[in-house]
């Protein structure tokens, strides 16, 4: 007996072919590296009749400097992001975040687009079919109740992509393509706070690439807490970017993953601009993070731990970056 449900694999060579495949096959999923999708299908989390391989679309494998910034195709493998000289020079935080995804064997096939569009995760969802069946399934798949918050009306599964916060603190944009053509949006607008529908993509839209502005003098880093240090999804992951002007902070962005149903760009950081990053400011960063994250009972580590570890990682990372030498 096959480990996977039966499906037809379509290799799309153009965006038009993806759109046509999705219009003619109602139950259709997009396939890139497959490291998350194939594992989920093995767990019975969906049984699509069609998979569309999008890694062969034009531009999906490109990394290039363009007038508007550094453009990275959504099909670029994470292992390539870790090693690529252009990425390491222009966006080292992205290489750092990509290196924090799973293990080298996953990174060899997992893609940037797949990591950005990663399905949300939950202890009640990422389980075997018989486990979920015995629990009457859950709101995210085949059930009617979110076991994390049974009185609520939405799924609380946590977003767990590591590369999203790194791109958010760099002010990335995302290129989407579909039947209506292509469009650019701020990466932040790609996500929604709903574990069962966390991507704001149109029905026939695909993430094609991301673009980063080239920003001189910005220092950025990424850190995550996880249960299995060698390979695991983040219990909480934090990216920070900052610019220092003398003894004062000139720019600060903080983004989180693993704590909400979407990657979260922390608001209120502007209140710290123009001041030194002293103990009070670091405490303020911790408070901003603690106030805005909303971890729920979606991992075996308790939510209050993830809230506190997110705050600790953010202030610790900001302190390290503030005292690091300013990049050229």
């Amino acid at each position: 007996m096959s480990l996977l449900p039966s499906f037809e694999l379509i290799r799309a060579a153009s965006l038009a072919e993806v759109v046509a495949a999705r219009r003619s096959h109602a139950d259709c999923r997009l396939l890139a590296g497959g490291t998350d999708l194939i594992a989920n299908l093995r767990h019975g989390l969906g049984s699509p009749a069609t998979l569309v391989d999008i890694t062969g679309l034009p531009g999906m494998q490109e990394i290039a400097i363009e007038p508007a910034g550094l453009r990275i195709g959504a099909g670029v493998a994470l292992s390539r992001l870790v090693d690529d000289p252009l990425i390491r020079r222009q966006a080292p935080v992205l290489a750092e975040a990509a290196a924090a995804v799973a293990g080298p064997t996953h990174r060899a096939s997992a893609t940037l687009g797949g990591n950005l569009c990663l399905d949300t995760r939950c202890v009640f969802y990422n389980q075997s079919e018989w486990w979920r069946h015995s629990n009457d399934f859950c709101l995210k798949h085949r059930g009617t109740v979110c076991h994390v918050a049974p009185t609520g009306n939405r799924c609380h599964a946590a977003y767990s992509g590591d590369t999203a916060p790194a791109l958010l603190v760099l002010g990335a944009q995302a290129e989407l393509g579909g039947g209506g053509g292509k469009r650019w949006i701020a990466l932040d607008e790609l996500f929604r706070e709903d574990g069962a529908a966390h991507l704001a993509l149109g029905a026939d839209e695909v993430l094609l690439s991301v673009r980063l502005p080239i920003a001189a003098g910005l220092t950025a880093g990424y850190e995550k807490a996880r249960l299995r240090r060698a390979i695991d999804f983040p219990l909480a992951g934090v990216a920070v970017s900052l610019r220092r002007d003398g003894d004062a902070l000139a720019e600060l962005r903080i983004a989180l993953t693993g704590t909400n149903s979407r990657p979260l760009l922390v608001s209120g950081c502007e209140t710290l601009i123009g001041h030194p990053l002293d103990a009070d400011a670091l405490q303020q960063i911790g408070k901003l993070v603690q106030k805005q994250v909303a971890p729920m009972r979606t991992t075996i580590a308790p939510a209050h731990y993830r809230r506190r570890v997110a705050a600790a990682l953010a202030s610790r990372l900001a302190a390290r970056l503030f005292s690091a030498p300013t990049p050229a």
Partner: protein
């Protein structure tokens, strides 16, 4: 839907009819009869199914066989031969890197990819290269010593 898959398996070209949903680990074990590649978990967590695809270590349990057309796939059966162990197999044998042996094919394939890329890795680089491979017997110390011994053999 069935398709014709032509690939190079352990240096030899072969062609088979496979279904779109056939995983590479199923193809290797059930179609090609190469049972050295193990199925240890239910999806990418243990690394026991690690094979090399065009020289890069990948999970055969997360890879569709039908996406391997035209590619070079190497399994543990392509490393060494009966009576003629490879340097890694010899080192795992002599340094007691294998206990129950279930994780060993995956460990050796991941280590083989590392040593081809970096013939003289330090301990941190070995740990990183094997970070996707679980072993429930050895505690990893003997495995790392085995890879170090194999690297030393080559120099």
């Amino acid at each position: 839907m069935p398709m014709i898959l032509s690939l190079t398996l352990n240096g030899r070209p072969r062609t088979d009819l496979v279904s779109d949903n056939l995983l590479l680990v199923e193809y290797l074990r059930d179609v090609a009869g190469l049972t050295g590649t193990k199925r240890g978990c239910d999806g990418g967590e243990c690394g026991a199914c690690t094979v090399l695809i065009d020289g890069a270590p990948q999970h055969a349990c997360l890879t569709l066989a039908s996406r391997c057309g035209g590619r070079h796939v190497e399994t543990i059966e392509g490393i060494g031969s009966p009576g003629r162990l490879s340097r890694l197999q010899r080192a795992f044998h002599e340094k007691l890197g294998a206990q129950c042996g279930f994780c060993t094919p995956g460990m050796i394939m991941a280590a083989e990819a590392l040593l081809r890329r970096n013939p003289d890795p330090n301990e941190a680089e070995i740990r990183e290269a094997l970070s996707g491979n679980l072993c429930r017997c050895t505690g990893y110390v003997k495995i790392i010593e085995s890879v170090q011994a194999a690297a030393g053999d080559a120099t």
